[in-house]
Subunit: 187 residues, 2 copies
DNA sequence: ACCCCATGTGTACGGTTGTTCCTATGAGGT
DNA sequence: ACCTCATAGGAACAACCGTACACATGGGGT
């Protein structure tokens, strides 16, 4: 009778790096079910931590969401900048962009969803808009390695539109169409 | 003592067209505070009707939101198609598009917000995605009056990106830049 | 004139949310 | 060995939500 008195007592203790893990889990939850479903409880469940742990590590839910999106933007922006920087010339840069779009972005449903969800969050919460703007400016700066500022801006807008279309449309553009559009705009 | 027994009793009765008014009010609330804030109670307050009236006229909140977005998309799509159809040739169509963007869309914060909020709603609710897709296909068909299908599609994506940028960015593109980008893509 | 039912109205319910708060615990400095 | 405080843990709260429902009311067909 007294062998197991506590009903599945949580033994977890001393969990360094939990803060980081919470940020990562938050991204997973957003990618899986959207920002709207990224509640304290859903994240706590996914990370297998008690509810109170969230508000201990992050002052508010918005703060946690901002941390998560910031991490994601950092990852994607760094990868993108590296690709653009690695291209030897304008033509190679455009091809790298096509690859980035068709391979990484439109290929992985996860990144696509996260992009849209960031727009959603930014549209709703001014505190998160800073993250979106950071993403947009970094994206533009990466493009400017091989494109003049004006063209970079136009290409950036087109890319944003392509992502949106791909996420919400039933028949997204394929690589050939995307390459053609980019070359027409920047070629 | 008995002169005013009921505390501000609502005298309203017999309100034909209330259903339509609810749809219009819903759009106002969305434009003002976003889909996230478009709750039964907020809409009821804005339309000055009791809470129960909403669920009487619309089976669910999603149904009401869909009706509102549908009305908005109908309005904008009709206006846009008329503009495109009225243009005598390709060049005039592009100029009309510039006007549509700079004048109507980017000019009125309301339409801009509603566009974004529709994306938001569509991203979250599958039932609303049909409205977004309807908008996208109608928009493309309007462009096809003077543009070949491939170009129309590319322009459509660019326009969507421009709208997104304008809504979320701090320094949106001006008419000159937009015209230049469109001509490079479709000129 | 009368009745019916579409419409209007107010309230209540069950559920979920963000956040607060109190208590427990053990790793690290002394 | 001991004390301390950053962290872990769980319960509670007030606010809000969508929806259901019971009841009033009067316009329009008869």
């Amino acid at each position: 009778m007294s062998t197991s008195p506590a009903p599945a007592r949580r033994a977890r203790r001393y969990d360094p790096g939990r803060r980081d893990r919470l940020v990562a889990t938050t991204l997973d939850v957003i990618a899986e079910n959207g920002v709207a479903a990224a509640t304290h409880r859903a994240i706590a469940r996914a990370a297998d931590v008690p509810l109170g742990s969230l508000t201990y590590h992050f002052g508010s839910l918005t703060e946690l969401l901002a941390a998560a999106f910031t991490r994601h933007v950092d990852t994607v922006a760094a990868r993108f900048d590296q690709r653009m920087r690695a291209a030897p010339d304008r033509v190679a840069a455009l091809e790298a962009l096509v690859e980035h779009l068709t391979g990484d972005l439109l290929g992985s449903q996860r990144d696509l969803v996260l992009a849209i969800e960031l727009y959603v969050a930014a549209a709703r919460d001014p505190a998160l808009r800073a993250v979106t703007q950071d993403w947009m400016s970094r994206s533009r700066r990466s493009l400017e390695h091989h494109l003049d500022p004006v063209t970079a801006r136009e290409v950036d807008a087109l890319v944003e539109g392509l992502v949106l279309h791909s996420a919400l449309s039933t028949d997204p553009m394929d690589a050939v169409q995307i390459r053609s559009a980019l070359h027409r705009l920047a070629g």
